[in-house]
Structure formats: structure tokens, C-alpha cells
């Protein structure tokens, strides 16, 4: 088996607040290969963004703490890496696109300068003319006229700002792109444009991508593989085909599917997942989904289930121990 580009092993992250310890990630494990596009799905508070911040070692200082596990990026141990090493990785080898294009750009710097800054940091050998040309190229590539490079972010609409965010992320041609809800703040027709653009650029540069979203539809259409995160753990993973054919799913994934109305099939009534997200300050002993699960048995309350794999599709639920057999 070849080396993975990114390996996260049994990652535990907690936030130490005055009132309580919030267990944001509780043994998250995933791998990503070069050029792969992976969708990470989960609801608010599942730990999706914490995962992205951990990969870049950008967890809030003092409050956020990695307590267990490892993150290995292309042979480098991220958790042990010093600031100097991380600076070489952030932006150059792993880039991030943020959810809110309105606040993730510097309002008092022209968009051209913001992109130029990335090159200045990571490509000191380039001369000024080369860098300027590169900025023009990347702007055109994301569909913004290069004549607008001297304008400030407030002059651009939300979709345009997200295009600039993408340009900034891709200008250094990173190997891995972390996109944290990149289209949540945008309208559907603009969302389609942006996702389309991201996919094309991803193919062009053979970039690996982690697309974090709560929208199952976005994952189904734009990713190859998918992991479903609940209470800081991966509870199901597989290819998009395996997960979305809905033949075998984790009860939580099934619940997500039942909660959303569909464009083509009719249902009389949506079936919401009962109860609320597990309290991250007070995690149950067994399966974290047990209290909301309609298939829950005694063992679920006392013992945390392991991953049961069938080929590339794995589910963290005791149900599949019995059913799967093999």
C-alpha cells in the first residue's frame, strides 16, 4: 500500500473553557490520498471545523488542545512540528478556503496584493514581474478580470469574494485544499459556479481536497469519497456510491437522509432524528449516538462500537457486526 498524503489517527481534541472541558474530537481517524476529493459531512458541533484547524495547527492557543492521536502529512508529524515548519506548510502545501468570504479577506488591502502576499511568502525566488504575472493568471483562472486586481474586497459580491479566496488558496499550487463550508453563504446558482470551478481547478492541479459541509447534496455531486462525522468521530466512511445508494448506512446517516426532502421523490412526512446533538462536555460511555438511535440495544449503551468494514465501506455500529458477519 502506498503512502497516504494525510493520515489522521485517533485524534482527540478538547477545548478547555472556564465552565467545562468540551470534547470536540474523540478519536477521529481518516486518510487522504493525493488528488482525492473527500467530503466531510456532519451537523453543527460535530467537530468538522476543529478537524480542519488541527490539520493546520491553528487551534486557538491555550483553549484548544490536542490530547491524543497523531496527524501525519506527507511524512511530517504535524503535532510535533515547530512554527517554522508549519509556516512552510500552511498556504504553500495545505491551503484553506473559509466559509465566510465576507470576513476572510483583508478589507484594507487590494485583492491583487492579498494574492501577491502569498507568493511573496512562499516563492522568494520569483521576481516581481513573475509574481505579478502569476497574480493576473490566477485571477483570470477563477473568472475575475485582471484589471480589477487593484480594487478592495468591498467592491466584490459574495460569490466574487469566494473566487478571490480560491485564487489565494490555489496560487501556491498546494497539494491539499481544505474547504470549510465554502458555499454555505452563497446562493444556489453561485454555489454551482463556485463548486464547478473548484472541481476543475482541483483536477487541473491534481490537488487533494477535503470539502467540509453539512449539505449531503454537495458531497454527492462533488466528491469521490465521504466521511460522516458525529460527536467528533467518523461513524461512517466509504465512496459516495457506497454511502448514497442507501443500502447500508449508520443509523445517524440514515437519519440525515430521512430529514431532508428530496427533489424527485415524494414523502408525506419527514422523519427527523429524535433528540439533540450529544453534549460534548458530557459524553456517554458507549455509542455516542445511542440515546437518539431507534436500533439501540444494551451493548450500545455500555460499549463503544468499533468500525466494521466491508471493502472500502465502513460503519461504526454494532448492527453491522451481526448483519455483515464477514
Amino acid at each position: 500500500m502506498g503512502e497516504h498524503l494525510l493520515e489522521i489517527e485517533n485524534l482527540h481534541v478538547q477545548y478547555n473553557t472556564d465552565e467545562a472541558v468540551v470534547n470536540a474530537l474523540n478519536g477521529l481517524t481518516l486518510t487522504l490520498d493525493k488528488g482525492e476529493s473527500l467530503g466531510v459531512v456532519g451537523e453543527t458541533g460535530a467537530g468538522k471545523s476543529t478537524m480542519a484547524l488541527s490539520i493546520l495547527k491553528l487551534l486557538p492557543a491555550k483553549v484548544g488542545e490536542i490530547t491524543k492521536g497523531s496527524i501525519t502529512y506527507d511524512g511530517t508529524d504535524i503535532i510535533a512540528a515547530d512554527n517554522h515548519t508549519m509556516r512552510g506548510i500552511r498556504g504553500a502545501r495545505i491551503a484553506m478556503i473559509f466559509q465566510d468570504p465576507m470576513t476572510s479577506l483583508d478589507p484594507i488591502m487590494t485583492v491583487g496584493d492579498q494574492i501577491y502576499e502569498v507568493l511573496e511568502l512562499h516563492f522568494p525566488q520569483m521576481n516581481q514581474a513573475e509574481k505579478n504575472q502569476r497574480v493576473d493568471e490566477i485571477l483570470e483562472l477563477v473568472g475575475i478580470q485582471k484589471s480589477r486586481r487593484n480594487e478592495y474586497p468591498h467592491k466584490f459580491s459574495g460569490g466574487m469574494k469566494q473566487r478571490i479566496g480560491i485564487a489565494m488558496a490555489l496560487v501556491a499550487e498546494p497539494e491539499l485544499l481544505l474547504a470549510d463550508e465554502p458555499t454555505t453563504a452563497l446562493d444556489v446558482t453561485i454555489q454551482a459556479q463556485i463548486l464547478h470551478l473548484m472541481r476543475e481547478l482541483q483536477k487541473k492541479y491534481n490537488t487533494a481536497m477535503i470539502l467540509i459541509t453539512h449539505d449531503l447534496g454537495v458531497v454527492a455531486e462533488f466528491c469521490e469519497n465521504v466521511v460522516v462525522v458525529y460527536a467528533g468521530e467518523v461513524i461512517e466512511q466509504g465512496s459516495v456510491e457506497e454511502v448514497f445508494t442507501r443500502e447500508k448506512n449508520h443509523p445517524y446517516t440514515e437519519g440525515l437522509f430521512n430529514s431532508i426532502p428530496d427533489l424527485t421523490t415524494d414523502v408525506d412526512r419527514l422523519i427527523p432524528i429524535p433528540g439533540f446533538m450529544t453534549d460534548p462536555t458530557n459524553l456517554p460511555k458507549g455509542c455516542k449516538f445511542a440515546s437518539r438511535c431507534s436500533y439501540c440495544t444494551d451493548i450500545c449503551r455500555t460499549e463503544a462500537p468499533p468500525m466494521f468494514a466491508e471493502g472500502t465501506h465502513s460503519i461504526k455500529c454494532f448492527l453491522f457486526q451481526q448483519k455483515g458477519g464477514e
Partner: protein, 316 residues
């Protein structure tokens, strides 16, 4: 024919801006019958929220009529309006800012009754509040707590309970589930539909989410830059779309249905245009792949088949 519960006739709302007249709502004609839901879809800035607010008379219309049970409420004075507002209520998108943070849940729900005095006496109000909380799935122990202690879904339930306090017949729901996670979203949608079955409420459901709108609506109006560009019964609209914008909108929605995965998408070029001083022609023309000379002419909303209206000259 039965008189619709609420109807707008050539309703217009223009705003004066330094750059000119902003056509937020332009010539909108919609009808909603008792017990039915009209879904209003469109992208940000298309005027769907302004339409809702204008119909509630939270802002005053520029021109046109709003008929409630056949009577034009735009002619009503303050006193009459206060009366009619008991039958028309609104729930808002953002459950975090639409509740008064300094009132407890019980007080928030009781407030409309204290203002309108439809229920008199402390005990009676308290009892009604508890009924409403029960109806909206809020446990009794929330009576004395404050909105910041609740999550988004429960806050939206409080907003709904408050709207129901005056026994309305018509509720404008302005993106009530957009800020919620899918599992919570499903709970709120189910609640809204149950209440409609039980009380025969009429809803105007404003959203940008076509999947949700398909699930909840009887009729759907698609808006683009202040105008209704397509209007039809739900099944009709989802089987035959005529307007190029509706088509593009439907094709842009990502779905979990794998069979739609490889479909050819109609990607729209460019972004929503500017509603300030729009040209007389079709407002979608700049992004439309079928645009021609004829699109410079003003477009009428025409009936192309029974009950199906489209604003595009290409559709015969």
C-alpha cells in the same frame, strides 16, 4: 370561485436610494387560499422578503392592492390594521435576533396577547401560553428561561408559538428553517405542516431551498429581481419548467440522488443584476442563454397552460 384568503394585485414596493429607484417588488400578483401554502423561491436580493414584509404592512407598499378576504388592507387605518394583524403573523429567519433577549419564553409568547387583549386576565393568558408551548413542542420548564439558553430549533419554536398566540389565519414564514441543521429543520417543517392540517392555516413560505419548498407548498412562485417569473402548482412546476431561470435554478441544486450526478448542468454565467432603475425588458436577459433582441421589450406574465404562468416571450 372562492375568494382567496389573501391576494396581491399589481403589488409594488420601490425604495428610494441615492442611485435611483430600487424595484424590490414589481407588479406581483399572488393568491393564497385557506389551508394552502405558497412557496416563494428566489436568490438573495430578489425581493422575496420585501414581498412578505409588504404584505404584512411592516413596510408600506408603493402601489397596488393587498386583499385580505377581498378587502384592501392598504386602505385600513391604524386601528383596523391592529385588528387585521391578529389574523396575519410572521415568523423570521434568524431565531437568534427575532426574540427579545430580555424577556423569558413565557413573556415572549404572552406579549402579543397583552398588546391586542384577545385573552384577558393573567390566569387565562398563562393557560393559553402553556397550550401554545405544548402545541409547538416546548416543555413547560422553558416557561421561565431566556432565549439565549435555547438552541436554534427551540428558538424557532418559540417564534412560532408567539405567532400563533393571536390565532392567525395566515402566517408569512420568512426562511424559518434556513439557519437550522437538517434534523432540526425536519422537526420544524413537520410542526408547521401539522399545524396547518389542524388549524387550516395559510402559509407564505419564503425560502431559497427548492427541496424544502417542494415538500411544503401547494403553489410556487419563482422570483427574480422583484418580479415573479414563473407561477404554478407544485407538481406542475416540478414536472414542466418553462422559464430559463427556473430551469437553471433547478439544475443548480445539488441532490443526494446519484442518478442526477452526471446530468448536464446549466451553469448560469454572471450574477444577479442590479434592481436599481432596471431596464424595461426581461431582467434575466443578461444571464440567459436564449436572450435575443426581443428580450429588450417588457415581458408579461402569461398563462401558458391552465394555472401555469411564465414571464418569457419564448414560451408559447
Amino acid at each position: 370561485m372562492q375568494t382567496p384568503l389573501i391576494e396581491t394585485v399589481n403589488l409594488k414596493k420601490y425604495f428610494n436610494t441615492p442611485k435611483g429607484l430600487l424595484h424590490a417588488v414589481d407588479d406581483v400578483n399572488i393568491k393564497i387560499n385557506e389551508g394552502e401554502t405558497l412557496g416563494v423561491v428566489g436568490e438573495s436580493g430578489c425581493g422575496k422578503s420585501t414581498l412578505g414584509r409588504t404584505m404584512m404592512r411592516l413596510i408600506d407598499a408603493t402601489e397596488g392592492q393587498i386583499l385580505y378576504k377581498g378587502e384592501n388592507i392598504l386602505n385600513y387605518n391604524k386601528k383596523q390594521m391592529k385588528q387585521i394583524h391578529t389574523s396575519m403573523q410572521m415568523i423570521f429567519q434568524d431565531p437568534f435576533t427575532s426574540l427579545n433577549p430580555r424577556l423569558s419564553v413565557g413573556d415572549i409568547i404572552a406579549e402579543p396577547m397583552k398588546v391586542v387583549r384577545n385573552v384577558k386576565g393573567k390566569e387565562a393568558i398563562r393557560q393559553k401560553v402553556q397550550e401554545l408551548m405544548d402545541m409547538c413542542g416546548l416543555p413547560d420548564r422553558y416557561y421561565n428561561i431566556y432565549p439565549h439558553e435555547l438552541d436554534g430549533g427551540r428558538r424557532q419554536r418559540v417564534g412560532l408559538a408567539r405567532a400563533l398566540a393571536l390565532d392567525p389565519r395566515f402566517i408569512v414564514c420568512d426562511e424559518p428553517v434556513s439557519a437550522l441543521d437538517v434534523s432540526i429543520q425536519a422537526q420544524i417543517i413537520n410542526l408547521l405542516m401539522d399545524l396547518q392540517d389542524k388549524e387550516g392555516l395559510a402559509y407564505m413560505f419564503i425560502t431559497h431551498d427548492l427541496c424544502v419548498v417542494r415538500h411544503i407548498s401547494n403553489y410556487i412562485a419563482v422570483m427574480y429581481l422583484g418580479q415573479v417569473v414563473e407561477y404554478a402548482a407544485r407538481n406542475e412546476l416540478f414536472t414542466h419548467q418553462y422559464h430559463p431561470y427556473t430551469k437553471a435554478l433547478l439544475s443548480a441544486i445539488p441532490t443526494t440522488d446519484l442518478s442526477r450526478r452526471g446530468r448536464e448542468r446549466q451553469l448560469l454565467q454572471g450574477e444577479v443584476g442590479n434592481p436599481v432603475n432596471p431596464k424595461p425588458g426581461c431582467r434575466f436577459a443578461s444571464r440567459c442563454q436564449y436572450a435575443s433582441e426581443a428580450c429588450q421589450e417588457p415581458q408579461e406574465l402569461r398563462e401558458v397552460s391552465a394555472g401555469h404562468f411564465v414571464r418569457c416571450h419564448l414560451i408559447k
